[in-house]
Amino acid sequence: MTDPNATQHFVPQKAVGWQALIRNIPAMLSLGFIVVLVLVAIFAPLIARDPKAIEMRRTVGNEVLNPPFSPSMQNLFGSDQLGRDIFSRVIFGLRTSLIVGIIVRGLTMVVGALIGLISGYFGGFVDIIIMRITDIMLVFPVLLLAMTITAILGPGLSTVCFALVLVAWPDVARLIRGQVLFIKNQTYVKAAKSCGAKNSRILFRHILPNCLGVIIVAFSMGIPGAIMYEAGLSFFGYGIQPPMPSLGSLIADGRGYITTAPWYPGFPGIVLTLLVLSFNVLGDALVDSFDPRAR
């Protein structure tokens, strides 16, 4: 009963790299969706109306209505309690989410990668200290800690970014450190070292370029997390401040209206979920395509 195809069956010849990524339909759909959302965010002022325009009375036929208005051609996603267009507010909120997500994750990668490089490359006492600090940072409740920090500094865009980088760098540092330890022991690095190359040269010419793949994947995988935490902070009032709309604060504002105007907290939440979902699917596909053993 020997199956001649057994080997092939259990170790499928999986496509890897860009080809695999392009053939991954959900990933491509997600990428497309993200591109659309990014374009919408960039051209928000052209697509959306004034997200701050207040409309307290609206005459429909003989009736004078007061907000919140339900979804219609005039307000695709309905309006809030001041008659402001939720569709427009969602678009501007999306913009905030994307900006924060990318900035926070980018800064986190820079900080985390630098610390990880130093820790992994130099090893010894430095490594021990850095790793103990990451141990400690990783046991704190993330959102609570971030809220405490924004409470300290006063909420706002820059403090939100600072707080989120401060709680997220240890993960990245550990990841990069692991990668550095692996590369450090490769023959070519050893060879470079024995030839008397300077530390900085080895670090930035040999080790860093070899970490780039991991960094890019970690960057994209971390964006949805950053977006979610920003939304969480804003939901509890410790994040982005009005009048700058954020998806999190939109949901918080609409929370009370969940039974009487479900579109108000509903649409921002759906957009936020889809945004995070697309990033997650794309991130998974990246890992699958370039690092199949990672899953």
């Binding site: 009963m1 020997t2 199956d3 057994a6 259990f10 170790v11 959900p26 103990r132 600090i133 141990d135 400690i136 940072m137 990783l138 046991v139 704190f140 409740p141 993330v142 959102l143 609570l144 800690l145 809220m147 405490t148 920090i149 409470a151 300290i152 500094l153 006063g154 949805p224 979610m228 939304a231 969480g232 939901f235 509890f236 999190g248 949901i251 929370r255 969940i258 039974t259 479900p262 907290p265 509903g266 939440g269 936020l272 979920t273 889809l274 995070v276 979902l277 997650n280 699917v281 998974d284 899953r295």
Partner: protein, 309 residues
């Protein structure tokens, strides 16, 4: 083995000191003046100063920190600014409620996650697998606070099946909504890990051998693949619990669950520094202990780990 465990426990000490130091340093640069809050609107500057002195907040920072550490060693976490009660007494009331909630959530999450993950693995590349994988991705993508609102809308407001929030003793209908909200992303993660773990064991040589020997697929799975896959799954449950506790605060706030997370959040809002500090430390200790437990478990399962350490 014993020395491995002992060493891991000893390592808790610097971690604990680190935790208290970081949180202490953070809290004491908070701009809000707790004394001002206690005094309320319309208090005279003299009253405020006398309260500040009474609470020892006019002393230098390092004196306050050392004082705090030495008291903590004997289990004294100070008194809450707000209630003026012993914080340890208050923690004794709120901590069990958080334990209840996290256990309930972890049970739901493990049950859902492991069964879905196994189904997906056994039916690899079939439509149930794809559905479960897609579902897991979605589960991870919900913002917890929004999901909580939607579940409240569905189960409490529309269907009148469950109370929307509150607490009446623990494992009853009140725990279901917050526990489910916590379990939804968790079970997504568990389903993925279970799927990969089972798939990995299915690829191992001994499985192929037993297949080759003509054992039925179901027997292969139950006798060989499952027990081996359980090792990574158990440790994952531990890590999942630690992760879940990290996000429990916001769920407790939304569902008015009177546990440690809500206690910490209220303390933050009211600038009750001793209470906030104590609750963040307890959270961190929780997670540290779970990690320790997982480490030890790993050591027991795989002796190489304990020897290497």
């Amino acid at each position: 083995m014993a020395s491995f465990i002992l060493r891991r426990i000893l390592m808790l000490i610097p971690i604990l000191i680190g935790i208290t130091f970081i949180i202490f340093a953070l809290l004491y640069i908070l701009p809000g003046d707790p004394v001002r809050l206690i005094a309320g609107p319309g208090a005279t500057p003299e009253t405020i100063e006398s309260i500040r002195h009474e609470m020892g907040l006019d002393r230098p920072l390092h004196t306050q920190y050392l004082d705090y550490l030495s008291k903590m060693v004997v289990g004294d976490l100070g008194r809450s600014y707000q209630t003026r009660r012993q914080i340890t007494e208050e923690l004794a009331v709120v901590v069990p409620k958080t334990v209840q909630l996290s256990l309930a959530a972890e049970i739901i999450s493990s049950f859902l996650g492991i069964s879905l993950g196994m189904i997906a693995a056994v039916r690899q590349n079939s439509w149930p697998d794809r559905l479960i994988t897609a579902l897991a991705a979605l589960q991870l993508s919900f913002p917890a606070f929004w999901l909580a609102l939607m579940l409240q809308l569905l189960f409490a407001v529309k269907l009148h099946l469950l109370p929307s929030s509150g607490y009446e003793g623990g494992f009853d209908k009140f725990i279901l909504l917050p526990a489910i909200t916590l379990a939804i992303p968790s079970s997504g993660i568990l389903a993925r890990i279970t799927r990969v773990a089972v798939l990995d064991t299915l690829r191992e040589d001994y499985i192929r051998t037993s297949r080759a020997k003509g054992l039925r697929e179901r027997l292969v799975f139950l006798r060989h693949a499952l027990p081996n896959a359980l090792i990574p799954i158990t440790t994952t449950i531990g890590l999942d619990l630690a992760r879940l506790i990290g996000g429990i605060a916001i769920i407790e706030v939304i569902f008015s669950w009177p546990g440690l997370g809500k206690y910490a959040f209220d303390a933050l809002v009211f600038r009750d520094l001793p209470a906030l500090q104590a609750s963040v430390i307890v959270f961190a200790i929780f997670v540290t202990l779970i990690n320790l437990f997982v480490d030890i478990l790993y050591g027991l399962i795989d002796p190489r780990v304990s020897r290497a350490a």
